[in-house]
Every structure is written in C-alpha cells, then in structure tokens.
Point group: C2
Chain length 367, copies 2
C-alpha cells in the first residue's frame, strides 16, 4: 500500500513537467452534466478531470496512458478533490471512459452517460476542427423517435430509433428511402442517435442540399446476448431475422418508405459492420447499398453479381488499418463494382471516425 | 475515523436482526443495466445493494433511513464488494438514489441513470401491484420523438419530446388534441418519457378504449436557470414565453393538432404543477384543461370565469397532503367548477404518484 502511495508521489513531478507544456485554456467538456465544470478540455486536446472523494485511497480515470495502471492517476488536493490531466493530448472527438475509485469502477459525476462496453459509460468530447457537420444549428430539423416493434423470434417488444427528415410531416404524400444503421459491440440503439449525432448529421447534409431526405433506422443488434462475451459466439442469423423479417416490415408498414432494395441501405460500425456484411450478403434482395465503418471489407468474391450492390462503402480511421479499406475498394473497383473507401484523418476506432463515415456515406446512396 | 468504523461494525448485528424478517426472494431491479444482478428488490419492497470498491473506507446509498448518516450503510465482504439492505421496505414505484464512496457522490454502476435533482441519478423500481397500467405490452404503440424547436427568447435550439398515438401515421387526415406535460424541479424533458412512462400509459389507455388518441408534449421547464437554486427566484414568465409563444406554435405547425383551447391541456408534477397553475391562469385563452400533480391547488378566486377551464384536476400521494387536494376540489365544485381530486394510495412525492395521476387525468380531458 505504502509503495503504491509512494509511486503516486513520485509520479507528481512527471505530471508537473508535462503540465508546463499544457496550455491553461481548459473549458468544460460539452458533454458535462448541467452546471458541471469538470471534466475539462484544452485547445491542445488535453483532458483534465476532477473528482470529489475525500477519504479515497486511489482515484484514476481510464483515459490517457500516464497512470500507474494505464489511464490517468488523479492526485488528491487539500479540499478532498482529486485532479489529474492526461499526459498527452487526446484524439479529437468522442471518448468513453470511467473512473476507478479504490478498486471499484464508477462513472464521472461531472459528465453524462453513453452506452458503450455493455454499460453506461462516462463520455468526454474533444472538439474536432470539423465539428460543424454534426453541430446543432438553426436549420430545419428532422425528429428522432423511439418505436416499439413486436418480435416473434425473440418473443418481446423491441426498441428502435427512427430518424425522419424535416419534410416528413410537411408533404404527407412523399415517401422516403431508408438506411438501417447499426452500432458496435457493447453499444445499443441509443448510440447512433446520441454520441453518433446521426440525426444532426442528416439535418445538416439536407440543409446544405448534399443529400435527399431519407429515413434512418437504428436498433439494438446484439440480439443473442453476445453482449457479455467476445464476438466468437455471435450468431448473425438471430439479428438477421429481427432486422429483415421483423423490423424492416414494421418500418415499411408504419412509415412512408420506398419499400424496395433500390431504396434500402444497411451500414454499421465495427461489429455493426460485421453484421452489415453478413446480412447484406445473406439477403441480397433486401439492401441495395452497403456501408462498413471500421467494420471490415468486402472482396469481389463475396458478391454474387455486379448489380447486387449499387454502392459499397468501406471506411476506418487513419490510426486503424487504412490500407485495408483502400485496397479493398481498389480491388472491388477493378472487378467492376461501385466501391468507395474513406479514411478519417487522425482518428482511431472511435466515434469521430464513424460520424465522418456517415457524412461521407449518405451522399453516395439512394441515387 | 476509528469511531466511524466501530459504528459500522456495531451496526452489523442490527442489520442482521432486520435481515431475519426480510424474505430472501430478491430479484434484480427492472431498471438495472444489462446483465447486472444488483440492486435487487424483494417481494416486501426491501432493496439490496452491492457495490465493488475493495479499498474504500465507507460506502453507503442514499435510500433508506438506517445508515449512520441516513440512507443505508453497506458492509464490506471478503471479496471487496460492499452489500447492504434497506432497514425498512420502500414505497412501491420509482426512486432516485446515489452512492457515497469515501465522501464522494457517484451512481450505482448496476443501474441505469435518470435525470433528477439537477443530475443524472441512479434509479430503482419497487414493482407496484398496479404496474400493469404502465407496462410494455404487445399493443399498438405510439412513438416518442425528440424534436428541436428554435427559441428566439432564449436564443437557442431547444428540445422537446412528443408522444404521437399509434394511429398518428395511419390516418394522415386525423388531427389530435395536445397535452403539455411538465416535469418537476431538478428533472428535465427526459423525465416523463423515461421514469414517467408517459407513452406507455397513453398506449395502454388507448388500447383499453379508455381515452381517445392524443399528442403529449414534454419539454424542459427550468428555463431561467433556477436549476441550481431553490424555487424562490424562479420566474415563470420566461418559461411561459418558451412554452406558449414558441413551442405551442411549433407543435401546431409541425404536428396534426386540433389547435385550439378546447383541445389543449397543461399539467405538471411538483414544480411543473406550479408552472401549470401560473401559466394556465396567465394565459386563460390557451389551455382548456388543468392538471396539478403534487403541484399545489387552485382556489375558486384564482379563476376568472366558470368556462375558463373545462377540467381542473389536482392530485398527490396519500403520504403528502391529501386533504389539501380533496378540499380544494370540493371548494371548486361548490363554486361551480368541474374539479377533480385524486390521491395515490401508499405513495409520497415520487413517480408512482405521478404515473397514476396521468392515468387518472387523461380520461377526464378532451371530451
């Protein structure tokens, strides 16, 4: 115990020396709970945390790499508040994290929660230079609505979120194409509407005239409880049944959709990309546009016929495996498919990569 | 410090003796995060908590009254998990709570968060005997959608949640009456859709033929930042402007409403009741039906003319001040008003009182 404390003390000068390079222009993260000052972010992307726990022995956050156990160790002040700054700048965009208090895992009381890693995690936003494309502006807004649909295969009422474009309630004769958009492992149906800003991205693209209005459907994809294990045992068939045989018919019967393959797309991030690949290939008659966001690639041999997919889109962050998606797109193009790749500059397997991927994917589909 | 630990130790036999009366039929709370066993609730309404914090000195939860500082003290086991059971049964329904770890305030990692007390709090549900009226069933479901509306008075894009009934997207010529439903102090626009189950309550009443389909609009009511203070400085006028001059016109222009006083109601819980009273009286031409849920009462002298309000509804829990609403309704009836009171049996100033109040209020309005 003494040794750990000693290490913490020895770590102080280190933090101090980093601190000298850190600009003291910290602002509260935009995801903070109302009235909360911390966590904060500075113009360089450093994150600073402040947690009250006067009698705690050890407090750290899972972001950063400078801590004795990874993450960032916080240091207790006279006032009983623990404070610490990441030892390096964070990538731009959204990051999940949690707080370790005396060996237990909790969320930062300063910020809102976002579902990831099969739990509601803390979230922090490092303002991205290009954040305008998902900003909330005074433009016509579509609505994101929660729907319940009955699922015979899972014997329950299941939830989905449906984005309808700004014009949806204006011209009641108009019908719309539909994108089915999936979250990643450990996330759920709230992920794309909240940390993904799917609705705001579509609102802004529509307002700029870059896309035609469409409907976006987001539901829970970890149907068979892979939730608490790895992906090894994941059976895509269970979700394929819920999505294609239950949700698609529900959406086509409850919303004004163009109910055909040429007006139906599927995309997903990470595990949602794996679902997209499996389901689009298993049901070639259902979806006409494919999007894998940090979610693998298609090979020419995967796809039965040239006209099976009108658009094949594959993306990832520059800190992932950009050559993989670039080469896959080149191979597909060489084989005569309408394929695209996108690499998100300066991002890893995180949400800014996927927000940008959606921004790039939407203008390519439903043409 | 030693003394506090000693107290904790002395408290053990006490907990133990209570434990003998407690039925060991605990089940996970229905609000728990996926896969989480704790917190648990038994058939008597006792709540049991289990939190991992191996090196913590003191862990307690804010529910219950048996703790050294109120709430419930948890006791550390060999495995580093802290466990404790409330010393008495809890009232049926939803309760907010939080966890104290070594003097800091955190949420229980086992359960989901709900916005209350101006922060995202932990929530636990003690199953109510009459819970069927807000249960998720295989009946036609309306949708709860998030909308953004531009507010000139606050110079921002504001959020509201709008419940549209199951038939809304079927008969595109139909128009609907609208209830504006407000949360309480420290809560926000997510409160009625989530812990209030407003949409499910309406779905079930519609399915049973007890009410005609209506739209329910829920927005944030603490417009002028009373959020972090008491109610003393709360200026109802700011919210009156947002609600009546900005949101009502937005809803009437974006949804198929019956846009007149005879088809527009306002109700609210606690502080939302105070808002309802102030705004309905200040704008008698806007709302035709008034509902105060644990939110005060109207006196005959408050109301200008007999035909100002078609229905006046006042409610509270039997553990609040039931005589107040009963007498107020009697006085209003004696004065010739169409007034109703409702007392929620066995509940206090909490959400089961307000779920039941909504169930009682909806069938009385829009006739």
């Amino acid at each position: 115990m003494k040794k750990i404390l000693l290490l913490a003390v020895l770590a102080l000068p280190v933090c101090a020396c980093f601190a000298q390079e850190v600009k003291e222009d910290f602002q509260p993260s935009e995801l903070n709970q109302p009235g909360q000052q911390y966590p904060m972010v500075n113009s360089q992307g450093y994150a600073r945390f402040r947690i009250q726990a006067p009698q705690a022995q050890h407090v750290s956050v899972s972001l950063g790499l400078g801590g004795t156990h990874g993450g960032t160790d916080l240091t207790k002040g006279e006032d009983g508040w623990w404070t610490g700054t990441t030892s390096t700048p964070m990538d731009e965009g959204f990051h999940y994290y949690h707080v370790s208090i005396d060996g237990g895992t909790f969320n930062d009381p300063g910020t809102a929660n976002f579902y990831g890693s099969t739990r509601w995690e803390s979230g922090i936003e490092i303002p991205a230079k290009d954040r305008d494309f998902y900003a909330l502006k005074n433009v016509p807004h579509g609505n994101v609505q929660q729907i319940y649909f009955h699922s015979e295969s899972t014997k329950e009422e299941r939830v989905a979120f449906v984005y309808t474009p700004p014009t949806y309630d204006k011209d009641l004769k108009a019908t719309y194409p539909v994108l089915y958009l999936q979250h990643g492992w450990g996330e759920n149906e709230t992920t794309w509407p909240l940390q993904g800003h799917a609705g705001l991205i579509a609102d802004n693209l529509i307002a700029e005239g870059k896309i035609k209005p469409c409907i976006i459907v987001m539901t829970y994809g970890m149907t068979n409880g892979v939730r608490f294990g790895g992906l090894g045992g994941f059976n895509f068939k269970d979700f394929e049944t819920v999505l294609v045989d239950e949700l698609v018919p529900y959406v086509d019967s409850h919303f004004r959709t163009k109910a055909n393959k040429d007006n139906r797309a599927m995309a997903g991030l990470s595990m949602g990309g794996m679902e997209t690949k499996n389901i689009t290939l298993a049901r070639p008659e259902v979806f006409g546009y494919y999007g894998l966001f940090s979610g693998g690639t298609y090979a020419p041999s995967d796809i039965k016929s040239k006209d099976q997919a009108k658009v094949i889109f594959m993306s990832c962050g520059s800190k992932e495996n950009p050559d993989g998606v670039t080469k896959a797109a080149a191979d597909l193009k060489a084989a005569g498919f309408n394929a695209y790749s996108f690499v998100s500059e300066g991002t890893a397997h995180e949400f800014l990569t996927w927000r940008r991927s959606l921004r790039e994917f939407l203008p390519l589909i439903f043409k």
